[in-house]
């Protein structure tokens, strides 16, 4: 036991000394050297890397930060808001010069934003805005309403070309998610403008769940076998839609007889594959590269004290059979597929 105690004491002394060494240069450096002499550090905290979209965003931000000379610290909370809070506090301890955050939801991120505000560190939310509160942050998000409306407008124009009346199905996301609500509103606005050429006969609440989406689509196709127009609020639900369409013998390429007009949102790798194979009419692409660029830019602007709006909108773009080749380079899903 005495050996053990001696070892422990020795270690503690070593720790104390290393602690002193640690503090010395750091504080000297901070007071002597202006901050632009050392590389700026950016903390990137993602709630999850579970879907392709987040991985693409993560990579795009890291690349953009590296391009602008930031040193990057990364953290993924694996869906645990408390862990994310600890990670953000770690960033603050490391005295990072900016934090880019993908929160679990609009509310649990508020104490994190407050901690960053107190420490005077600029914080930017990537793709998910925070709920209204007394805290200060900037969010870079897709213009869900406008982009969905533009995408559905394209689908409606295609539908009108056929000259016949179409019955439509829409897959809605989790309506607790502001992104899902925006996409629903964009869809509804476009359909309203379409007049009576498109009639919505099925609205599937998926709650962002693939299994629910697939069974919903199967049921809707059974109830309305003549559905010929489907829009999904996210591309990641396409595998279920395709399998249901195949099961009903309704999966045909654009231009073939019996083709069901298909549209989506996100611009993921599956959508790109379906687009290049000729099955998908159009999808609204969130411009991950634009969002990454804007997020890092916002950190730089906030550091420089430039005024910024609370929300920076990514207009995105509609990719469709007509412009697929020229827009492919901007579509994150196409780049994922290439890799």
């Amino acid at each position: 036991m005495t050996t053990l105690l001696r070892l422990l004491v020795a270690t503690l002394i070593a720790v104390a000394m290393s602690g002193c060494r640690q503090e010395g240069p750091t504080s000297a450096e901070a007071s002597a050297a202006p901050s632009n002499d050392r590389p700026l550090t950016l903390g990137i905290a993602f709630e999850t890397l579970q879907t392709e979209y987040w991985v693409a965003g993560y990579e795009a931000i890291k690349a953009e930060a590296a391009k602008r000379g930031f040193k990057v610290l990364e953290a993924v909370a694996d869906g645990d808001a408390n862990r994310q809070f600890e990670q953000v506090k770690n960033f603050i301890t490391r005295k990072v010069d900016g934090i880019i955050l993908v929160p679990k939801d609009a509310k649990t991120c508020i104490p994190m934003i407050r901690a960053a505000n107190t420490a005077g560190i600029p914080i930017v939310l990537f793709n998910r805005p925070a709920a209204k509160s007394d805290t200060r942050s900037v969010a870079v998000v897709a213009d869900n309403v406008a982009l969905t409306q533009a995408t559905v407008n394209y689908l409606v124009a295609e539908a009108k070309k056929s000259g016949k009346k179409h019955k439509a199905m829409v897959l809605l996301g989790d309506l607790g998610d502001i992104n899902a609500v925006g996409r629903r509103d964009g869809f509804d606005a476009a359909i309203k403008e379409a007049g009576d050429s498109v009639e919505v006969v099925a609205r599937i609440p998926t709650e962002w769940n693939q299994e629910k989406a697939q069974s919903g689509v199967v049921n809707a196709l059974q109830a309305n076998p003549d559905i010929s127009f489907i829009f999904t609020s996210s591309d990641f639900l396409f595998p279920g839609i395709v399998s249901a369409l195949k099961g009903a013998g309704k999966y045909h390429k654009v231009g073939e007889p019996g083709h069901v007009i298909l549209g989506g949102f996100d611009g993921d790798a599956t959508a790109w594959q379906m687009l290049s194979d000729g099955y998908l009419d159009a999808t609204g692409v969130q411009d991950v590269y634009f969002e990454a660029r804007q997020s890092v830019q916002a950190i730089e602007d906030l550091r420089a004290g430039n005024p910024l709006p609370e929300i920076i909108l990514d207009p995105g773009f509609v990719i469709h059979q007509g412009n697929a080749k020229e827009k492919a380079a901007q579509m994150w899903g196409a780049n994922l597929r290439k890799r």
């Binding site: 105690l5 290393s18 503090e23 990364e74 694996d78 869906g79 600890e86 990670q87 104490p111 709650e207």
Partner: protein
């Protein structure tokens, strides 16, 4: 450390072995091993890790430890009694949303009332105790394996928490409540008091001796007149209560009642407990060991994160360390039995 029977058995089995083995065994069986490992980890990483030794970070570390420690102590008690409680994470989520739904200014039925905060905390604790009692009764009365009982209650409670809130987090908690989590001054004494209480109960009370006896060998304990079922039931109730207390700290810290709160910390809870020397086979374990286990795991998380290690490497390191601790527990158990 450990129970008297275990002590006696080691003494007889190690008496004839060479001195080095004796020292190694002692070190291996000592609580201080994990403290020593934590100190080494800290000493090795501090020079390379910006900010690890800073006062701010040490405060963060303590703040991170507090709620994890509380839930791990509950787990320690159940493991000592020879059971396991996998439902603690869902107990945290359920008590979080029920507490928040009671006191939230936006949607709570007690919202705005001056008694909202204490009432909500009591409701959370009571609910934790009810969950623990249900688990305990299923294990003792229905003779069901603890593993399947608590695994299914984990699913059920998690579903219930999501259903109650329609998967939306609950906001607008009173400041008198959120301060419990955001101020170290409150969170730390709460965790320390609970740890001190559990430690005294385990080392100084008859219940503590019963708990170890039941975990070590329930049949012998029953023959010796220990009320085995009541002891096991009490251990599960304690686990539920401690999980609810941890939920108070977690919920207060995030200022939000969340139906997915704590969903991912099960391995941290059981890992910290086992790293701290509590046996997965029952009968052995100490609160001090769990404190060190929580310290070690929190430090590992904190340091690797500060080092900027990627999420995946962090998961691999943590998984490896917990696996190693479980291996040591198995080895220890075999040597003691030999």
């Amino acid at each position: 450390m450990g129970s008297e029977p275990a002590e006696a058995m080691t003494a007889s089995s190690t008496n004839h072995e060479p001195r080095t083995t004796n020292a190694a065994t002692r070190l291996l069986r000592s609580d201080s091993l994990v403290l020593l490992l934590s100190a080494i980890l800290f000493a090795v990483l501090a020079p390379f890790t910006d900010g690890l030794a800073s006062a701010d970070n040490l405060a963060n570390l303590l703040g991170n430890m507090a709620p994890l420690l509380v839930v791990a102590i509950g787990q320690t008690l159940v493991l000592i009694a020879g059971g396991i409680d996998l439902s603690v994470t869902s107990t945290i989520a359920l008590t979080s949303v029920v507490g928040a739904l009671s006191m939230s200014a936006d949607q709570g039925w007690l919202g705005g009332s001056p008694i909202a905060m204490p009432a909500a905390v009591l409701i959370m604790l009571a609910l934790g105790a009810v969950v623990g009692a249900a688990n305990g009764l299923a294990v003792t009365r229905l003779q069901m394996p603890a593993f399947i009982v608590t695994l299914t209650s984990m699913m059920f409670l998690s579903g219930l928490a999501v259903w109650l809130t329609a998967s939306k987090p609950v906001f607008g908690l009173p400041a008198t409540f959120t301060v419990l989590g955001s101020r170290l001054l409150f969170a730390l004494p709460i965790a320390a008091a609970l740890a001190g209480f559990a430690h005294l109960m385990l080392t100084r009370s008859l219940f503590g001796r019963w708990l170890r006896a039941v975990g070590f060998n329930p049949r012998t304990a029953r023959v010796s007149g220990v009320p085995v079922d009541a002891v096991v039931l009490a251990a599960y109730i304690a686990s539920g209560l401690f999980a609810a207390a941890a939920s108070v700290l977690y919920t207060a810290r995030l200022e939000t009642g969340s139906p997915v709160l704590g969903q991912r910390i099960l391995l941290d809870v059981i890992g910290a407990t086992v790293i701290g020397g509590t046996s997965l086979f029952g009968g052995r374990g100490r609160v001090v060991g769990t404190v060190f286990g929580v310290l070690f795991l929190s430090l590992l998380d904190n340091a690797l994160n500060l080092l900027g290690l990627s999420h995946f490497s962090l998961m691999m390191v943590k998984g490896g360390v917990i696996l190693l601790a479980a291996f040591l527990d198995t080895a220890r158990n075999r040597w003691l039995a030999a």
